[in-house]
Subunit: 336 residues, 2 copies
């Protein structure tokens, strides 16, 4: 067993590169691997030990029982997991991929003995690459850490006690990076981000295309509403596409809800001329966002060794709560 | 005939109140009327001669041949125009209502002898009322000034020369307020704002409602894309509703385009799992907005007394150009 706190980051893009820097800034021993010789050279030049030798980085992780952070795009996950299985099959493992159920399924299939807890720091995709990363990218951001749906009774990933152990380690990493932790299941995470991250990207793309097609006069008259509504359409299209496609089934449901509401607005405007119901529902929705953000948070504590710890963590996330600290085996939380 | 440059503003909300202040700040003689005794008192206390005596304000406008600025919400337009017809039937008239064809139709019907040129300063609806206004609200904003579809050969509004005269006066007011002028027809304006102002409000409302319905976990994970995409859903819902409903037919067309693109995205995601076409089209659309904004503008001059002046103005607006100054009867412009 190595020192708790060692971190091995696989991938050197915006998120992986920022995890590496943030962990180093928090005093952890960190190293990384990337398929990009350029990124490895750039990171090394800045003093971060990043190599293109993935197997070597994983051997060191296995030797020192480091936390392995999978930080590659979803399409590359399976390939990298096969390398993990070959070199560090029982490692502590987390990831920072924007969708959780597909990654969890790939881990179960390809590295069934890994002690895996999924993660997703909620940071932007407007920029990408090692050079765009920073040690403070996750400051005040939400970092989802997944909790199993059920205590994993003998299933892949071992018993619940092991899960909570790795869970605590991932929480510590997130907190060290300046984030707060939102505990939830992989499926609930994927459903939530489909609605508040992937659907916004799809709607921004639709709006930007419709607006541009309306021509130069329309773009000349575009003010704040169009500017804000299309901002994320400026993000790297390949990354956005991969992110959205990776959450296909949850996103389909969210798109259907949007189609339903937009179709209802269309029908009402055409038949009675009224948009009051649509605009009022949107106003109330936005007020709920603002109210939740400005609400006083009730302090809470969750004993991670208690039999109902997983249920308590799931309930905390479901009502909009977060973990803001750890004291031994107790999670210090703010209820939603 | 009174002094050219006198301005009588009917309505004391965000836009009307700001026009009044901006015209006063530019050294014009201004007065106003409002149905709100509170607003009249507040404006008077700040030194602006605003009365609840609409007929009195209009008599003074008729006596001094002032430019009358109609600055009431669309539902109140007809009632105020009847008062204009009763007291100042041949006045120079413009408006600042967010939709142009319905106002132009009401003017033709109710005040057929008014020398009318429509206007629309592109300012937000996030706040409202006299207190929210300011003399600098229109600084660097686009201010649409309408041009007839055809030279008005003996039709309501008189001959083209008169139109261009009032046109120049409205342009002067907009420039004095710090705005630049986008010349276009009422129908083209309504189509453009349906796409870049009213559709964004509808989509923001749809997104806010769908996101809030997804629950507290989703709102806790909402980051920049949701925050930006729903910002205008925080605007005063009655004002947004009235603005969108007032542009019903153009907005229906824009909503249908959005429904078509969102439905196509849905179909592609469901059948092949791909969103590349949607996201790429959105990215290109947003790039067109950014490119148009950062483009070098070619200086241009339009002789407002030339026979093809109206056509030249329409063409300038259609290609994203703007008027930035007046030198006598020549409009100084930037081509798009």
């Amino acid at each position: 067993m190595g020192r708790v706190g060692d971190v091995c980051v696989l991938g050197s893009g915006l998120i992986g590169g920022s995890v590496l820097r943030a962990a180093a800034a928090a005093g952890r021993t960190v190293w990384g691997a990337t398929a990009s010789a350029q990124d490895a050279a750039a990171a090394s030049a800045e003093g971060y030990p990043v190599t293109t030798d993935l197997a070597g980085a994983l051997r060191r992780a296995a030797d020192q029982d480091a936390l392995v952070v999978l930080a590659v795009p979803l399409p590359a996950v399976a390939e990298v997991l096969r390398q993990v299985a070959a070199t560090a099959p029982t490692c502590r493992l987390t990831d920072v991929v924007s969708v959780k159920a597909p990654v969890a399924a790939a881990v179960r299939r390809l590295v069934p003995e890994a002690r895996y807890v999924g993660g997703h720091p909620m940071a932007g995709v407007a920029t990408s690459g090692w050079a765009a990363g920073s040690a403070t990218l996750f400051q005040d951001a939400a970092w989802v850490v997944t909790v199993p749906d059920q205590p994993a009774a003998g299933a892949a990933g071992g018993d619940p006690a092991v899960d909570l152990d790795v869970f605590r380690e991932v929480v510590e990493l997130a907190l060290a990076a300046g984030a707060h932790v939102v505990p939830t299941t992989a499926d609930e995470h994927d459903r939530a981000v489909a609605h508040v991250s992937h659907l916004p990207h799809v709607l921004a793309a639709v709006l930007a295309a419709v607006g541009a097609e309306a021509g130069p006069l329309a773009l000349a008259l575009a003010a704040g509403s169009f500017q804000d509504g299309t901002r994320v359409a400026g993000s790297h299209p390949e990354l956005v596409t991969a992110m959205c496609e990776g959450n296909r089934s949850a996103l389909l449901a969210a798109v259907d809800e949007a189609l339903g509401r937009l179709g209802a607005a269309r029908g009402s405007l055409a038949s009675t001329g009224s948009l009051a119901k649509t605009i009022t529902a949107g106003h109330l929705g936005r007020q709920r966002l603002d109210a939740q953000r400005s609400a006083e948070h009730t302090p809470a504590r969750i004993d991670l060794t208690a039999p109902d710890a997983l249920a308590a963590l799931r309930a905390l996330g479901a009502r909009g709560g977060r973990i803001t600290g750890l004291a031994g085996t107790t999670a210090l939380a703010e209820a939603g």
